[in-house]
């Protein structure tokens, strides 16, 4: 199921403003790829181009190629809605649907994909997804309670459950722990380790220790200079990145000497 992503010469624009320039990378299937870099360097922007969420902002567009298992993501024949059904996303702040129960939140995506579903099927999907997100034991007795009644960390795991309920091929995470306390963060990081056996995971993080802990490969983004577009400075296996990076600026950033 999990798929690899090839990005070549990707330029990302907001209107006429070039936000990220010339990205080339290969994201491996069934691995965790982390993006690090200072704020405003385009990591999240780049992440959002991988499931065509970038273009929901008026005027936003891309140039270049994103290939998911040999299929071009930006081919005119490709429906962005179909792309998002196969490439799930978890956001910076937990965003369960506020009026829906825990159960309905998890099943929301599946309801969009298949209009008619037996109750037993739906139950199975909800249990599998919540177990997959390590949340089942905490909520199994109150599935009909609103998703907003959970704690922040639980809400974020609920959002992960909602994303994996539609069995995507890739899971994108945009700073999934930045609004969470250390214990919830550690729960999510454990979850990422487990999920990578089934999914290709791409995570943006501000926390370099987190990148070092969870990822197999790391990309470092930076601005070329103030007012210039962001670009990919270095893309390497995480162990190499944190011990012996190719670029001096990567080392400077990782060791905290600039930023």
């Amino acid at each position: 199921m999990a798929k690899s992503i090839d990005v070549s010469d990707l330029n990302i624009y907001y209107g006429d403003f070039l936000a990220v320039e010339g990205v080339n990378m290969t994201i491996r299937a069934k691995a965790v790829t982390a993006f690090i870099g200072p704020s405003g360097c385009g990591k999240s922007t780049f992440l959002r181009t991988l499931n065509r969420m970038h273009e929901v902002i008026p005027g936003a567009r891309v140039e270049g190629k994103v290939m998911v298992s040999g299929q071009s993501l930006y081919d005119p024949a490709i429906d962005p809605v179909a792309v998002r059904r196969q490439i799930g996303m978890v956001f910076q702040r937990p965003n369960p649907f506020p009026t829906m129960s825990i159960y309905d939140n998890v099943i929301a995506g599946s309801k969009l994909n298949a209009k008619k579903m037996k109750r037993s099927e739906a139950d199975a999907i909800v249990e599998k997804s919540l177990r997959g997100a390590n949340l089942w034991n905490e909520v199994k007795d109150r599935l009909d309670k609103p998703g907003m009644s959970l704690s922040g960390g639980q809400q974020q795991r609920l959002c992960i459950a909602r994303a994996i309920a539609v069995e995507p091929e890739v899971l994108l995470m945009d700073e999934p722990c930045s609004a969470l306390d250390p214990i919830s963060t550690s729960a999510i990081e454990d979850l990422i380790h487990e999920l990578k056996s089934e999914y290709t995971i791409v995570i943006v993080t501000h926390n370099m220790q987190q990148a070092a802990r969870v990822s197999d490969e790391t990309g470092f983004f930076n601005l070329k200079a103030a007012g210039q577009p962001g670009h990919l400075v270095e893309f390497n296996p995480t162990t190499k990145m944190f011990t012996n990076p190719d670029e001096p600026s990567t080392e400077a950033y990782i060791s905290g000497r600039f930023g």
Binding site: V81, T99, A108, R162
Partner: protein
């Protein structure tokens, strides 16, 4: 920390700044004034209208007593308002969604502006247009409704030849309440948190599915308030209905015939000028009933909104 602080002789008084005091006073006066005005209206209606409840029988002609006089009027008021809402609400929600979620900004802004402008047109103008232009233009539609849907009590006919019917009045009222319901709905739709919209989009929702998943649940209580404000306007609207309808004291669901119940407000407007003191008291009493009906509707609306908010907050 020091534990040897000298005992305080008395607690320090909180500082009150003159600006705070003046503003608080002004706000309090404004709030009291509006309460007094409302109470004044109620007292006036009660005192002046009470004789109308038990006037000599001929005053109520062709009815016999107050309740049979005001009954058809209440019915007509509610019927006209309901017809208007049935037409206006889907229309308003559609326009509001178009402005907030579908149209590109350079189209959305002028459309919103024109809709707001509709609210500024005086109701007399709508009445003129409804009675003269719309009434004749709508006759083919009423003929069609009579021929194809005549089995429904609403379209039992026979269709009016003048076109001045409850349906026409309802349409005019609908156009009058569209601006307010649209404006409020548009505001609440536009306030839907981006986070919720993106949550739906990232699951692979189409635009419409995103609106159903994220926008409608968020906006529901706001849209209900919008509808209730529109209903309030429809209940109280005077001139447009008075100018469109040729009224008779009947209770009928038939929307397209020549005999239509008047509404309370239009009945007051068309009879007030030539009324005797007794008749005036009667009209004021009907005003009191309208006051009560509007109050009840608003109260019900608050309750509905409160309940749906409690459901969300639970």
């Amino acid at each position: 920390m020091s534990v040897t602080a000298p005992p305080q002789p008395r607690p320090a008084k909180a500082v009150v700044r003159p600006g705070d005091r003046i503003f608080a006073g002004a706000a309090r006066v404004a709030a009291l004034t509006i309460m007094l005005a409302l109470a004044g209206v109620f007292v006036f209606l009660a005192i002046e209208g009470l004789p109308g409840l038990s006037a000599p029988a001929h005053i109520y002609a062709p009815a016999e007593d107050f309740w049979s006089y005001v009954g058809p009027l209440v019915f007509g008021t509610i019927l006209a308002a309901v017809v208007a809402l049935i037409i206006a609400v889907p229309f308003s929600i559609g326009v509001a969604l178009f402005i907030s979620h579908y149209a590109p900004p350079r189209i959305a802004a002028p459309v919103a502006y024109v809709i707001d402008l509709l609210a500024a047109v005086p109701s007399v103008v709508y009445g003129l247009w409804g009675g003269l232009a719309l009434a004749s233009a709508i006759r083919p539609v009423m003929d069609w409704l009579y021929e194809n849907l005549g089995f429904l009590p609403f379209f039992a006919g026979p269709p009016s030849v003048t076109g001045r019917t409850m349906l026409t009045a309802g349409i005019v009222l609908a156009i009058m309440i569209v601006p307010i319901t649209t404006a409020i709905s548009r505001e609440v739709f536009a306030q839907t948190p981006r986070l919720h919209e993106e949550a739906a989009m990232a699951l692979g929702a189409t635009r419409w599915e995103m609106i159903r998943l994220a926008v409608f649940p968020y906006a529901r209580s706001g849209v209900i308030s919008a509808v209730m404000l529109g209903l309030g306007r429809a209940l109280g609207e005077t001139m447009a209905v008075a100018m469109v309808l040729s009224a008779s004291p009947v209770v009928t669901l038939n929307l397209i015939s020549d005999t239509n119940p008047a509404t309370i407000a239009s009945n007051i407007a068309s009879n007030y000028k030539e009324a005797t003191p007794d008749k005036q008291a009667l009209l004021i009493a009907t005003g009191l009933v309208l006051f009560a009906v509007t109050f009840a509707v608003n109260f019900a609306a608050r309750w509905v909104i409160g309940r749906s908010e409690r459901n969300v907050a639970r």
